[in-house]
Symmetry: C2
Subunit: 492 residues, 2 copies
């Protein structure tokens, strides 16, 4: 692989220091605006992204090799996300407003008037991911949720799509400025020294990160080792295993193989939810190879996102191919736009050496693992580490309680007869999972992501007029609140 020819410019640490201080000032100016005002800022960013779509698309394509359809879908997703979050904060769901009125007869002794609301953390550092230049980058899920929470954001640009990211950052900053938000509420930095200084900075209260296990763990350790440790919401790595029952395999083998191929080669396999492992009954190698070749042949190929990522993929593929437990079923190649590789192993082999269950190949390569008896599935599942997703392919009438329970312990999301790519942004979404999938028990997708960047505060026996609006008796923001243990809808 050729290294990138341009030495990337980096933000001097002194400038980072200025930006963080400006972000803190902006946070202090903005933290008490109404949710209505804050929703307007999110809407202003969404509109600006739409208005600049034509300008951004070619930059995105040049930086990432992703096709227009995919990039347009991703931008649409990012815009939708901003509007959904705007709607969510107008409802006040992120505030968790809870009111306990004074109660002289409370069971453990008289209870004072006590009211709790969540407040924004402050300045948040967000690290962009390489693989989603819109949805997990400059104004992706982490930035959108931090801004929705009421935080200020300093975004560390991913070198893989620097040109796009710098321009996106300008558009966001300008949109916020035009909408009347305080200067400094959002800014971007580049380069490792600024990145490390961002994690270390005393005014930074949390980090959002999407990237590799190695890089993420190093920054997690750094965040924990601070004199004042801060939460590190890191999404690191996932194998996203698929478990196919005997019945499903015998009923619709070819559909499953095609679906698996589509999901695992989507975006050239560079999705955090790419299914990288599939457990299937023992099969006829010739027949399966033919189906896989057909499915793979129908895919359009592209170069990987950037040279560094390609280097990592090649190294991982080489390493997994070198395992004695693994054989090649469908060989890829080392073209600039490489053909996907499908490897094969057996339950017996991974039991003896489970390495193949842990080594993520970020790109177009997967492993199919043959089992002899469906009874083995639960045990094989228990050998896995933490996952963003796990998928079951089964018939609707099959009872798989044991397997579902093991997968629940291992995963943030469990699917039945779907494919894990295509993570919808909604109220119930959970995009997270036990380590190493993430470094926390939170989601980085969906409205619940907003709460990561807030902390609750209780107010005791406060005069009503001195309370934040969300907690005042008259409920001036008309939000849903829990009052004396029961939920009260403003619109009820």
């Amino acid at each position: 692989m050729n290294p990138t020819s341009t030495a990337p410019s980096t933000t001097p640490v002194e400038l980072l220091e200025e930006q963080v201080r400006a972000a803190q000032t902006a946070f202090e100016q903005a933290r008490d605006v109404t949710t209505h005002q804050r929703a307007q800022w999110l809407e202003a960013i969404a509109t600006a992204l739409e208005n600049h779509a034509e300008e951004l698309m070619p930059l995105a394509q040049a930086d990432t090799h992703l096709d227009t359809g995919r990039l347009q879908g991703e931008l649409k997703r990012s815009v939708f996300q901003l509007r959904l979050f705007a709607d969510e904060i107008l409802r006040g769901e992120h505030l968790g407003a809870t009111i306990d009125h004074e109660d002289p007869s409370w069971g453990m002794g008289p209870r004072p008037d006590l009211r709790r609301v969540s407040v924004p953390l402050g300045v948040v550092g967000v690290f962009g991911a390489s693989n989603f230049p819109f949805a997990f980058s400059v104004i992706g899920g982490d930035s959108a949720s931090a801004l929705a929470a009421g935080c200020a954001v300093v975004h560390k640009i991913h070198d893989g799509h620097r040109t796009l990211a710098l321009r996106t950052g300008e558009i966001v900053t300008e949109a916020l400025e035009n909408a009347g938000a305080p200067a400094g509420l959002f800014s971007t930095v580049t380069g490792l020294p600024a990145a490390e200084a961002l994690v270390d900075h005393p005014l930074v209260q949390a980090i959002g990160f999407t990237g590799s296990v190695r890089g993420g763990r190093a920054l997690f350790d750094r965040a924990c080792a601070r004199p004042v440790p801060i939460p590190f919401f890191g999404e690191l790595g996932s194998m996203n295993p698929v478990f196919v029952t005997e019945k499903a395999w015998s009923t619709r083998r070819d559909d499953i193989l095609t679906g698996y191929t589509n999901a695992s080669t989507m975006g050239m396999g560079q999705f955090c939810t790419k299914p990288g492992l599939m457990f299937v009954p023992e099969f006829d190698v010739e027949e399966v190879t033919e189906v896989l070749r057909g499915a793979i042949g129908a895919k359009e190929l592209a170069p990987l996102l950037n040279p560094r990522l390609r280097e990592g993929f090649d190294a991982a593929l080489f390493s997994v191919c070198g395992l004695s437990s693994v054989d090649v079923l469908v060989a890829g190649d080392d073209a600039e736009a490489p053909h996907p590789t499908v490897l094969i192993s057996t339950a017996q082999a991974v039991r003896e050496d489970p390495t193949v269950l842990e080594e993520e190949m970020f790109g177009p390569a997967t492993v199919m693992i043959q089992y002899r008896s469906q009874d083995e599935l639960e045990e094989l599942a228990s050998l896995l580490g933490g996952q963003l997703t796990s998928t079951i392919q089964a018939e609707a009438d099959e009872q798989l309680t044991g397997l579902v329970n093991v997968l629940r312990e291992k995963s943030g999301r469990v699917l039945w007869n779907g494919w894990p790519t295509g993570v919808t942004v909604s109220y119930a979404q959970f995009h997270g999972g036990p380590y190493p999938a993430t470094t926390s028990a939170t989601t980085s997708v969906g409205t619940a992501a907003i709460g990561r960047f807030m902390r609750p505060v209780a107010y005791q026996t406060f005069p009503d007029a001195q309370l934040p609006p969300a907690l005042q008796e008259a409920n001036p923001w008309a939000i849903t609140r829990r009052v004396d243990g029961r939920w009260e809808s403003a619109d009820a």
Copy 2:
């Protein structure tokens, strides 16, 4: 101080290993019981504590030197807490059940059926605090909330009340056994080697801790450094500052001094919410000393909880007294049951050396800090570290938005004209705060504490019958759920 004469017996690490494995087995057996069943287990523990109150009281008194009234109140609190948590899980509030039905017209593209529920983490290690032998110990807030969440608990007994704790542990274990809970769901260990092995154990999924900044930070670092890091919910230290306005001081100075003395000497000042600092206008030393002496004279004195704690208190008091910024206003003594000490400083002095704002004296000693102008309060507040509580003493018509906002950033709970001791257990309670008050953004008191020991899982396109009951369409547990963005009460 004399060190304790008995060398405490400790749990061998091999035995801890067995207990954790038994806890894991019990967790797996118990994690899918109905909330009704789990509520019965909590109720069984509550009833057992009531039934054994007469037996436990003398053990508690012998171990802690606390008076019967206080200990009875604390036991009542612990029993109430178990019952409130039982009621809370019956309501299903801890599950956060959220349902997004399939929606082909969802703004970012068709949405699959997606349902989220929180599940228990697994085996939890809980470290008992020295100062609340019931409420923050064997079956205190951390254990009660972990059991309510559906976790198994291995409790590290605090050496300060070993006899009481061992007996309490037996009572809890027996109550659970009699109620049909699986063996191993709750157990206790003693000693440092077992404590460290507990934090390190791969099957342990979270730690609850109440104790010192030094000990807590060491264990926090240990939890973060594991190959698979786990959340460490630590409550460490807090100064609990009080801010008195000029108006309040001139209106009701003596009441404030008496309230302050009562709160700061309650339980011989060994409360995590003891007000340890009070900012007041410059005052007449003779008058104030006389009021303080009167208030202190009305208090019954007792020895501190244990020799190690006394040693720590004496050292901290010695250290603070040695600061050039500090003078003695009311001198205490070094009797076995020591008279409380009140120190005095000035805004100017703490601005030059803020050490006195950080050094917690866990016992009967506090510092009063005189300011010249009320305008200084906001600036003085900004010099503080993270706090469990901050208190404002003011008249109801005073506008103190700036001060309230600074205190909100620094504190988990802000009080207006109350005293921070006496932490009610309720829905809105928040007992936590920025570091070093705690190591997380969660509460260790109140129903919200249950959620610490759970993590969300999403189920995508699952057959209804394979979903957990909380997510099934018919809502068989009749719990409040968020459906397509709107809250639906089962009883609505």
